[in-house]
């Protein structure tokens, strides 16, 4: 009895932590747009000044994975990813869209100064840097008469760059991490800007919702699309500015009048890379609603991936892992099955008597179970526990750059649909078999008809879903079939034993 009480406590504890997870996700991690202080008068819109220069390239930085080009105004004009993964139609991926501002763009509050800044060429100390293994530094200087802006930029091989902005005279200026990458933008996923404050709260401004905002104690300001980001980070809080563009998409700046030390990053939202720069940056990877859950699920899946080296296999292992976690529950059910066999004659009787009334049949069965202290049914909780995991995987396949282009057997990309429809069909078949093996009773004949067609409906529905998701479901079905088959065998064995006696 004591043991049972303990088990109950464990279940309740698990349940409470689940409630906590969801509540935390919902109340804490949701964008807190309402609380943000909006001081409209303080910040005038950071106006774009048309440059008179042609934006010629003055410096190029080449690393193994990327190539950066700095233009005449001292901004990052081009950032190209060189890995094969990021090739699209034979072209390398460009993360800097033509829209302004570009990363490292500096604008001044003073109109005269600003005008001058956008018509004065910068000078650089090197015009070509080859990064091989270690970081290297480029110094960009812009002489504006009585003000000299010096930007010391240190590039790292993983896409990180450190910026040191030094002014000769204090004046209010704005520096931008750049317009968000415009590579993977669709209506299915969120894209826009993210600002993390020093107290850990996040503010997510989706494209189309931006308004003028000042955020005082920000430590991260990032523009992001589905897979890529450009960001600034600093351990010492800074003042982040959001201004909307013509489409109400957020444009990010950092406002300052002193020298600044910033860490920047441009590139894919690899969790590992971001964490290696600073653990605060992991939050830049957003998964939409359910981010907290998806992020933790990613850690598990990533761990499995690092064990086996294939995302498809990792998903299969995840299914098995979930099943193993639920095994104590399944096992109790199986033990219950044994006891149940002794009640078979009584069950038959009840089944005969209430043949035409499934409601009553169900009730009397329950009564019988309770009288004999058995219950063979698995329960709703193990079933419903699958839903958040399924949803989490869906989110991961949608947002994780790690899972993009993950191949598995004949599938080239688990985050896209199976081009040959093998997996969805396989899922339909396994679903059908599982249906055949599981005893069910129906409340109305219409339901029974629809039920028979469900595998077909689900096959069609799942055909366009990411292959990884279908893989998860198919594996789950196969394991369910296996489990049901074992249960059926056990029951049959019992029956035979009884018959012999």
């Amino acid at each position: 009895m004591n043991n049972k009480d303990n088990l109950r406590r464990i279940i309740i504890a698990t349940a409470i932590s689940f409630i906590f997870f969801f509540a935390y996700d919902f109340f804490v991690l949701q964008p807190s747009i309402k609380n943000a202080p909006i001081k409209k008068n303080e910040t005038k819109e950071v106006k774009t000044t048309k440059s008179t220069l042609k934006q010629e390239i003055v410096a190029t930085i080449e690393a193994k994975n990327y190539e950066v080009k700095i233009d005449e105004l001292g901004r990052i004009n081009s950032f190209i990813l060189k890995q094969n993964k990021f090739n699209e139609n034979g072209k390398h991926l460009e993360l800097i869209p033509p829209k302004l501002p570009k990363p490292l763009e500096v604008r001044f509050e003073n109109k005269e100064l600003n005008k001058k800044a956008f018509s004065t060429k910068v000078s650089v100390d090197k015009s070509y840097i080859k990064l091989s293994g270690t970081k290297k530094t480029l110094t960009i200087t812009q002489n504006l008469g009585d003000e000299v802006v010096k930007k010391t930029v240190t590039f790292y091989p993983n896409g990180r760059y450190d910026v040191k902005v030094i002014l000769t005279k204090p004046t209010i200026y704005y520096i931008s991490p750049g317009y968000r990458p415009n590579v993977a933008v669709d209506s299915l996923t969120i894209h826009g800007a993210l600002i993390k404050k020093a107290d850990g709260t996040l503010e997510i401004i989706e494209d189309g919702d931006a308004k003028v905002e000042n955020i005082n104690n920000a430590i991260v300001t990032a523009g992001f699309d589905r897979y890529y980001t450009t960001l600034f980070f600093s351990k010492t809080p800074f003042e982040a500015i959001v201004t909307p563009d013509d489409n109400k998409n957020p444009i990010l700046f950092i406002k300052s009048d002193k020298n600044l030390n910033l860490i920047g990053y441009i590139g894919p939202k690899y969790v590992d890379t971001l964490r290696s720069i600073d653990s605060e940056l992991v939050d830049v990877v957003q998964y939409g609603v359910g981010t907290f859950f998806a992020r933790n699920l990613f850690l598990v899946l990533d761990f499995l991936y690092k064990l086996v080296g294939n995302w498809g296999v990792a998903i299969i292992l995840l299914v098995i892992l979930v099943r193993l976690l639920l095994f104590p529950l399944t096992f109790r059910g199986m033990v219950s099955m044994y006891k149940l066999k002794e009640l078979a004659p009584k069950m038959k009787q009840i089944q005969e008597r209430y043949k035409n009334d499934p409601q009553k049949l169900q009730m009397h069965m329950m009564k019988l179970y309770k009288d004999h202290n058995v219950n063979p049914l698995g329960g709703c909780l193990p079933l419903l526990l699958q839903i958040p995991i399924f949803y989490g995987i869906y989110k991961l396949l949608l947002y994780s750059i790690e899972l993009k282009g993950a191949h598995f057997l004949w599938i080239k990309d688990l985050s896209e649909m199976d081009p040959y429809f093998i997996l969805p069909v396989l899922m339909g078949i396994t679903m059908y078999i599982h249906q055949k093996l599981t005893p069910t009773n129906f409340q109305d004949p219409m339901q029974e008809k629809v039920f028979k067609f469900l595998p077909v409906i689900f096959t069609i529905m799942m055909a366009t879903f990411p292959a990884g998701l279908v893989l998860y479901w198919t594996t789950n079905n196969i394991l369910s079939i296996l489990q049901q088959w074992i249960i059926n065998k056990v029951m049959e064995g019992k029956k035979l034993l009884k018959a012999k006696k």
Binding site: K4, L7, R8, I11, I12, A15, P328, L329, T330, R332, G333, S336, Q359, Q362, M363, M365, M366, K367, Y369, K370, N373, N375, L377, G378, G379, C380, L381, P382, L383, L384, M431, H434, Q435, T438, P439, T440, N441, F442, Q447, V450, F451, L454
Partner: protein
């Protein structure tokens, strides 16, 4: 409004639920329990109670017959008024009733 949407959703779930096999350890099943709760109780309480019921619906709990119990104050019926009976309320304590849907 919200109540109606939730009940519709649960009904939709009930319709496809045979897909997952007979699973529920209780009578009435969790989904039926939830519908009865939502039709007879405060929305938040109904939600909470249904949630707890699902949590209880696993191999570590006995299962069996478990009807929703609601607090209710019964009003009077005017003389001659015809009312459709949807639920039976079986009193167990003062203002506490076991809810059973009328079987039609």
């Amino acid at each position: 409004m919200l109540r109606k949407i939730v009940i519709k959703l649960i009904n939709a779930y009930k319709f496809i639920s045979p897909l997952f096999g007979n699973k529920c350890r209780y009578y009435p099943t969790c989904s039926t329990y939830a519908i009865w709760e939502f039709e007879n109780d405060n929305f938040i309480i109904a939600f909470f109670k249904s949630f707890l019921r699902i949590l209880r619906c696993n191999q570590f709990f006995k299962g069996g017959i478990d009807y929703p119990v609601v607090s209710k104050k019964l009003g009077s019926v005017k003389f001659g008024e015809k009312r459709e009976v949807n639920y039976w309320y079986i009193p167990i304590k003062k203002n506490k009733f076991i809810v059973i849907k009328v079987d039609r």
